[in-house]
Symmetry: C2
Subunit: 150 residues, 2 copies
Amino acid sequence: MRLSKKAEYGLRALIYAARFPEGTSFQIKDLAEKNGIPKKFLELILLELKNAGILRSRRGVGGGYLLGRRPETIRSSEIIRAIEGPLTNGAVVKEGSKIPGEQASPAVARLVRETSEAIESILDRWTLADLAREEQEATERKRRHVMYFI
Amino acid sequence: MRLSKKAEYGLRALIYAARFPEGTSFQIKDLAEKNGIPKKFLELILLELKNAGILRSRRGVGGGYLLGRRPETIRSSEIIRAIEGPLTNGAVVKEGSKIPGEQASPAVARLVRETSEAIESILDRWTLADLAREEQEATERKRRHVMYFI
DNA sequence: ATAATGTCTATTTTATCGATAGGGATTGAT
DNA sequence: ATCAATCCCTATCGATAAAATAGACATTAT
């Protein structure tokens, strides 16, 4: 199961965004530097997330990005879909196959369908708020663990 | 969620193999022709499945491939793993990242882990015997449906 | 007017996928 | 012993997609 860099960056960017108080914006540059994400690449990603209605932006001096909606209302399925397109691949073997004899396998199709549904249900369940909390808690745990050894 | 051609061909090949009585072998050539799968490509796939212990082979004239074990004991997770490598991607962001600032996100890692586990549990549940039965039943249903319209 | 920001389109680079090529090894039949 | 049918193995190609970079444009606070 592979998550594209783009999707990973996108998720991380949104988790970052969720840390800011509602209405407060942040800059691509900071996000890129603090998270080690290529700035130009990140621009594209944030733009897509904006066009998907997940982020909003303010241009010009002092501008930046901010969440377009409350993080509780943003499901990770929506995030991934915004970045990678439709989650479920529809037909496993497309109708107009080039190879003459090629035929779809109903069994394989069913296997893929069931897997896709399972994935989708998990991605539907996790909201950005959940992810942000998880991130914060993990960081906190780590911090305490380090403290313990000082 | 994308299934590679290779994995799809592999699954279809094994479903095909499961139709033969135990101990009976089939030839790459027939499988390729009847299922519209590129023969040379299929060779590679069957070889991998053989090295994974899922298929057995007999060389020389009259040789061919056959299932290495009873289809009830072959889980689709094993099939996919044999063809595509480890299902779960291990670390989402590897430890020794090149980019200095780059850091793994525990939240993203967890999301990926949970999704992978869900996939794996489904793929563990479906055995080759299940797939073969499903395929046969679907074909049967289709046949009856066609008959109905004659 | 200027500098700081996001917006857009194009291009480059790199990796992966799907497929093909061409022998080599083994075996049954004659 | 020879031949043909089969699997076995390695290399390579071409197309596509992923990842990243480049450069100019648009907007806005100061």
